[in-house]
Amino acid sequence: MSNDNAKTNFQWVGKRTRRPDGVDKVTGRARYGDDMSMPGMLHCKVLRSPHAHAKILSIDTSKAAAIKGVKAVLTSAEIPDHPLSKPPYAPIINDMHDISRNVMARDKVFYDGHAVAAVAATSERIAKAALKLIEVKYEVLPHVLDPIEAVQPDAPILHEDQFTFLGDKTSEIPSNLFRSSVGERGDLDQGFGEADLILERDFSSEPVHQGYIEPLACVASTSEDGCVELWTTTQGHFVIRALCSSLLNIELAKIRVTASEIGGGFGGKNTVYGEPVAIRLSQITGRPVRMVMSRKEVFRSSGPTVGSRTHIKMGVKNDGTITAAEVETWYQAGAFKGAPTGRAVETYFSSYTIPNLKATVHDVCVNRPKVAAYRAPGAPMAAFAAEGIINELANRIGMDPIDIRLKNAVTEGDQSLGGSVYGSIGLIEVLNQTKNHPHYLAPLGPNQGRGLALGYWMHGGGLSSVSVHLLDDGSVTVATGNPDIGGSRSSMRVMAAEELGIDIELIKPIVADTGSMGYSHLTAGSRTTFATGWAVINSVREIIEKLCILAAKKWEIDVNDVSWEAGHAVSTKSGDSIKPLSLKELAAMATKMGGAIAGHSEINAGGTGAAFCLQLVDVEVDPETGHVTPLRHTVIQDVGRAISPDYVEGQMQGGAVQGIGWALNEEYVYDDQARLQNTGFLDYRMPVASDVPMIDTVIVEVPNPNHPYGVRGVGEPTLVSAPAAVANAVENAIGKPMSSLPLSPPKVLKAIEQIQVAAE
């Protein structure tokens, strides 16, 4: 395979092209999860627990089932049960025992909003009315929301059958602590011994929701012969197929999943919620069943990312060399195990060459919705603590925040704490570009502060499948198995056009269903442009090979004397005057000379490349109200190669905006019964457009040597450093460490008042 990652004279890569999904989206023609409707379709509504933790004593569905128009009422009795999975555990666990209980509570409810029963009826109105007639008797149990409280000896236990996994054994008594991920290197005592200054600090962050604008929605239709068709808004229809297959004991081939157009996911649409319930209701009633969640249901029952509690200690020499760091973090997994603790260990301090390190991250169950992925799962909260303490250390030893990072920056050959060995990486370039950026040199006004933070993310690779078809008229379809959540159709098209040497407008990218394509992993982990794009390049190269063979046949010359240049097969025989054949001419010949031409690729992509992202943020703090206004925000990121710069910038800006939300206002508010109070965007305060400044972007391109075009993952690194950068800016504006997200006005005002009291 030829590697063009050092190439710079691209025809399409790096250009700003028309987006292939744009027209359908702005005209409203694009079909999202709830735009699907089928003849005879029923509507499903779900009854949800009003308690955070309770035993289900009984469920009486008889009155609901008796209403005219109600076709089925479902409880967990209709969902197959599965045994608890046993060690050794994978880094990411898909335990069917837990998933079956999360989609429909079995004998206990574990959070406010936990599904308890579902109704399928001829209208949504009838389904809603039926829910009110379902009688559930609960025995309410004490609840716990905080991960540190949850591991105390007297804490209420969520799962009597969960014991802490301790490697070679398990704990003797049930525990909310499922397991701990640990990363270690060097000698901490020696490292702290060498330090001139050691700081210790506690940090905390709250669970935050992905806030995708399209609520969860699906339609399931099943047939008497056991086949299932599913339409759903998802980041990975192959994963949905696999989960539904395992959970409901249906052969994979009998489930065909089509991914709808998707209105945002950010990790939140990587798993099943309504899909298995809709499938079962369809099987029971023999009719298609649609299930659409309201925003309130999305907030109450779908997974946010983890909240965190962290204790961190770091030592530094007066010259800025960081000698040692030790951290212990508690992540809230929510109702079932599975907090991204391994990713936290991988991410902690991974931008730095600190020789002596230890990170311990705990996976703790609490009475909240089970966490889901959210853009760089596990990393932004780790970066918040690590970058926060470095900010304070730099301030205390009087060192420039970029200089301290340059002093300790990792380069090629260094290792992350999780064991990733870096190839060619762009961290130094990112730091140097920041240092010379006008934003870094601009003066600040009163009550203003500037903060910066660095983020690291090792993106994903893995399984991707692609089929490219050359059609008779010279146009091309590029089919992938990856839903397009951030512009992948555009990037796939650009890469195909680049290889073929034809106008991108001749190429139509599509997302194919699970029946039409080999397994493709999620559109997640910043993997799609990297891995699926690689499969596109492979597929197109296969087509080019076939076209060269075709031209050789036509010209009656050896195929080794044919090459592909600028969209044409050309003879390379010296002195030959054969006229090159265009892709269009060859396409027209193909069906008459052997058959249709297609290229396929099913790969397991390795060779991911570490990505680093720095954010520079200016804020102004209102000293009388604690209100923080972000004034200026610049994202400087090594993207390897920007295939579609518009989308790359969009990713960088989007992650920054989400990070501003994490940092300033987003949090779940519970009452004293652990019932969620802010179940809509009015009170779950994600930023609105007027809350954020224009996010400037600096694209740094240090190609990933492992990828044909040099691509690195782009979507996630940008969120990793954003909350930390905003928090550091607030800290620098008011002159007091700010360790607890969100930095909402009451918290900031209190900190300012404490400074004033201390000064008096």
Binding site: T625, N665, L682, V688, P745, K750
Partner: protein, 289 residues
Amino acid sequence: MADLKYESPTTTEAAVALLAAGGEMARVFAGGTDLLVQMHEEMIEPTLLVDIKSIKETREITFEADYVRIGAAVTGAELGENDKLVAMWPGVVEAVELIGSYQVQGRATIAGNLCNASPAADSVPAMIAAGASVCIAGPTGTHEIPVEQMAVSPGKTSLAQGEFVTSILLPNRPSNAGDAYLRFIPRTEMDIAVVGVGVSIELNADGTCASARLSLGAVSATAQLVKAASGILVGNKLDDTVLEALASAASDACSPIDDKRGTIEFRTKVAGVLACRATKIAWQRAEKN
């Protein structure tokens, strides 16, 4: 699953008759930006909606001898486009324009904002400061009450069965007078006031305060007139001592709750801060008039 009826009467009398007959399950439907949201969330399940937008008088802004009359179905967007009204009561209009977004502004009314009886309603403190009154039609005829007598507790008004608001009256503004409204929200828009302050000031020729009304929203069960404020301001110029006393008076008047939108401590402190800031703006406007 009771059925829902929709009526769109063209006269005040017909509306009163429908409301009186509809009883407790009947609701007036103006812009619907509170009503429809509450129905969607299943907080209320009315059986009759009486849409007042087809009653001609409710759609008009009229300038009369002593006051300007704002029909109960006039939208926020229409208020903002009425230059004469904006010049007269900039504080009231800026409060109305804080409600929701562009889209919400095309439907939302000040009468609906008032009758929804949320303690955090933005236009209400501004109307109280302006000394506005409310025209009510009902089975026994029509009458007027001051704006501050409309809400009795969160979500509850003093309206009797069959009664509805036909218009709101803002007095004509004397010269040397100005008003202002400020609210605190954690974001910049699409948020509900954590504290709201409306102020209206009239100055004497010598630059001292002739009369003042200051009203607070979101810091007690209903928006309230802070009576102490007028005593602090009248006869004085706006110096640091006066501002400090004003901030304390505003904070002292607070009896807020801790909820998802803010804490008691924060609301009490920020009420004082915003009282001073809004008073300064109203004062400057008065000096220019």
